[in-house]
């Protein structure tokens, strides 16, 4: 399995090389090295995958030792890699989608200077390496290390346009909000270390039920703390605020971070540690409801936003909500399948947005677009495929994955009608905002004629990744066909089966005809999508009238439920206020007071000892001498 070393270390080597040669490499060379390294990593990942596939089903969990990191007493902490069906899928997605994004970037970033270009590709490679460390980790410490590396490299990439204050702020926000989640994750790791005397997955997860009693409060606390980490990375309520702001980074970065890699880390971690989550029904219920709330909440915000990248950002939040809801109701395989399909179609949509933005000279406001279909046919058709997947039109990959999650939310023992309803409402919102975005951008009359005249189709380096992703988005649905369509054809479920084989699934609480649900979703998709077409494909007064009639709701959605303002008030200003208070009373009063008064004490004491007796008056000195001499004499006489 030496191929796995190439998967991990090719991107790292390339990142180090490009960054250390920064400024001395031409654009072609630095871009070429970066793309080649990730493509080779993808080839190695595919080989590893096939290798794993060639093994017996119950043998499919390989640990690759690399080195011993630290030895504490008798416990050894190792930097090891774990290749199992779960991580095998992840490395293929990360390197596959990642390499397409690298290729796309070579054209997208061509206006940068040589050294900036090298900086960009160095960071991008480093990000891929970080994510691969995360998914290949064989113990919690390496997982946490990858987790933090992803945080750092996302900070670097989001704040890539470093001369822009907003980009620098967005980078900081992403990092800091993630740290809040990491705090919980770290505490969970400490509990696991204390309870299991080990951090290796192979020594923790199989014994979870024995060491953490099912349903005990310790199991609940551990699961919730682990999930806190997932909430940060996967941007679930209330730690979602960093994701929309992270759109300040270059668009391919958004595609990489917010589709295929970073945000999926949380869902991946929950799936990886499902043995612990399964022990706490309370935590599972919490997770499912947080996911469902995020799904609906973010979709409702996306209804009114005008910035195409922001719509995509909220859409990502919403889709992550579905994944989390899926794992929360115990449908790990379904949640993970949605992660898999979403990685493709969301990367496609982000890259499509980037292509539009490129053509419109950085314009992101869909209110200034329109009619781009004629100018950009490749972008148009691929974007259409991505949109259909996101909406979940029957037959596309997005349909099967989302449908499965909603089906499980309704029927599984942990599911409930409320969860299903929120998910379905979210799906309705999704259909509407996607069609609004799509028709406003590509159909109708051009709203900004100057920009429209200059719009042009992107070159092949950008178009080819779009086409590949579009084809992939459609074809991967074949991997996960639900059982009601084709019995025993769900390759994805079967593939992940060794990972989730320990799950004991209770009886379904509800029975529904899956065909009826599919029909319902199709009706929703076409109904709300058609509404978007009616309102936005041609000039129509209706949307404006509705916005005016419900201006109150519109303002709430437009301002994202005022969550940022709330955080600003509570955390930023609250913290500043507390800091000012402690500065004024504690710092200046107590700390400075102690320092100043000890100085004053020393000054006064020494002035008494040295200054006050140095009067400069001869007669005092004479008196002192006399007094001293008399004293000495007295002592001498006494001692005789």
């Amino acid at each position: 399995m030496t191929t796995l070393y190439f998967v991990l270390f090719l991107p790292l080597g390339s990142a180090i090389f490009i960054r250390s040669m920064a400024g001395r490499l031409s654009k072609g060379l630095s871009g070429g090295i970066a793309c080649t390294s990730v493509l080779l990593a993808f080839a190695s990942a595919a080989l590893s995958f096939l290798n794993l596939k060639g093994m017996a089903v119950d043998q499919r969990s390989l640990i690759l030792p690399i080195f011993e990191w630290a030895r504490v007493g008798n416990e050894s902490m190792r930097f090891d890699l774990l290749l199992d069906p779960l991580s095998a899928v992840m490395i293929c997605v990360v390197t596959g989608v990642g390499s397409l994004i690298h290729i796309y970037s070579t054209s997208y970033m061509h206006e940068e200077t040589d050294s900036e270009y090298a900086r960009y590709f160095g960071y991008l490679n480093f990000f891929v390496f970080s994510m691969l460390t995360l998914v290949l980790a064989a113990n919690f410490i390496v997982l946490f290390m990858g987790w933090e590396l992803v945080g750092v490299s996302s900070y670097l990439l989001i704040g890539y346009y470093r001369s822009k204050t907003s980009a620098a702020d967005a980078g900081k926000k992403a990092f800091i909000v993630n740290r809040v989640g990491d705090f919980g994750f770290l505490l969970a790791i400490f509990i696991i270390m204390g309870r299991f005397n080990s951090v290796n997955f192979s020594e923790v997860l199989p014994f979870a039920a024995a060491k953490l009693v099912a349903g005990s409060s310790l199991a609940t606390i551990t699961a919730l703390l682990l999930f806190m980490g997932a909430m940060g990375k996967s941007a679930q309520l209330p730690l979602h605020v960093w994701l929309p702001d992270a759109m300040e980074g270059p668009t391919p970065v958004s595609a990489l971070i917010h589709a295929a890699t970073m945000v999926t880390a949380g869902v991946f971690m929950v799936a990886r540690c499902h043995a612990i989550f399964e022990l706490s029904p309370v935590a599972m219920t919490c997770i499912a409801w947080i996911g469902a709330t995020t799904a609906l909440f973010a979709a409702s915000i996306a209804l009114v936003q005008n910035d195409i990248k922001r719509v995509m950002a909220y859409s990502t939040l919403s889709q992550l909500g579905y994944m989390v809801m899926g794992v929360g109701v115990g449908a790990y395989s379904a949640g993970f399948f949605h992660l898999f399909t979403h990685a493709f179609f969301k990367a496609l949509l982000f890259l499509g947005c980037g292509s539009v933005m490129h053509a419109m000279h950085g314009e992101l406001d869909m209110g200034k677009m329109g009619g781009l279909k004629a100018k950009m046919p490749i972008t148009y058709w691929t974007f259409l495929v991505g949109s259909l997947c996101l909406v979940g039109v029957f037959g596309t990959s997005g349909f099967f994955s989302k449908d499965e999650i909603l089906y499980q939310a309704l029927t599984s023992p942990q599911g409930s009608f409320g969860l299903w309803l929120m998910g379905t409402l979210g799906a309705a919102c999704t259909a509407f905002y996607v069609s609004r975005l799509f028709f406003k951008t590509f159909h109708g009359e051009p709203r900004d004629h100057h920009a429209y005249e200059h719009a042009h189709e992107s070159d092949s380096a950008m178009a080819i990744p779009l086409i590949i992703l579009a084809v992939a988005s459609l074809l991967i649905s074949l991997l996960g066909l639900p059982s009601f369509i084709a019995q025993n054809f769900n390759g994805f479920d079967q593939w992940l089966d060794p990972v989730f084989k320990d799950l004991v699934r209770g009886a379904d609480t509800a029975t529904v005809n899956p065909w009826a649900l599919s029909a319902l979703y199709s009706a929703i998709a076409f109904g709300f999508g058609g509404l978007g077409y009616r309102w936005f494909a041609r000039k129509s007064e209706t949307p404006d009238r509705i916005y005016k009639a419900f201006s109150y709701i519109h303002a709430i959605l437009w301002n994202k439920y005022y969550i940022d303002e709330l955080y600003d008030f509570v955390f930023v200003r609250g913290f500043l206020g507390l800091s000012r208070w402690t500065y004024k009373y504690f710092e200046q009063g107590v700390v400075d007071g102690a320092v100043n008064s000890s100085g004053e004490l020393a000054r006064r004491g020494s002035s008494f000892l040295s200054e006050k007796i140095q009067t400069g008056k001869v007669r005092y000195y004479a008196g002192a001498v006399l007094f001293g001499a008399a004293l000495v004499l007295l002592l001498l006489l006494r001692s005789l």
Partner: protein, 100 residues
């Protein structure tokens, strides 16, 4: 033969007068005279005790003291004159530039 007690009492008396004069007077010349009185009180005590014990060292010491006192007066008067030239005054209490 002189009474040793009487001699020492006289020496002590002169020493105390001299010491009091140094402490209470502000005129440096008078202070000098008082210091001389203290020297001579010591000399008197040395001579009396030398006579009493029949030894020579005390009387030798007196010559040493007289020599040192003479040197000290020479230096001291020179300093007083130097101060008088700059300060136009010789009140020892006003001369306190060495104050800490």
């Amino acid at each position: 033969m002189l009474n040793i007690d009487l001699s020492l009492t006289l020496a002590t008396l002169i020493f105390c007068i001299g010491a009091t004069g140094v402490l209470v007077r502000r005129d440096p010349l008078v202070m000098f005279i008082c210091i001389e009185m203290m020297f001579n009180a010591a000399n008197l005590a040395l001579v009396a005790l030398a006579n009493h014990f029949g030894r020579i060292e005390g009387q030798v010491m007196v010559f040493l003291v007289i020599a040192v006192a003479a040197a000290e007066v020479a230096v001291g008067l020179a300093i007083i004159i130097a101060i008088f030239r700059t300060e136009k005054d010789v009140d020892v209490d006003t001369i306190s530039t060495m104050k800490g």
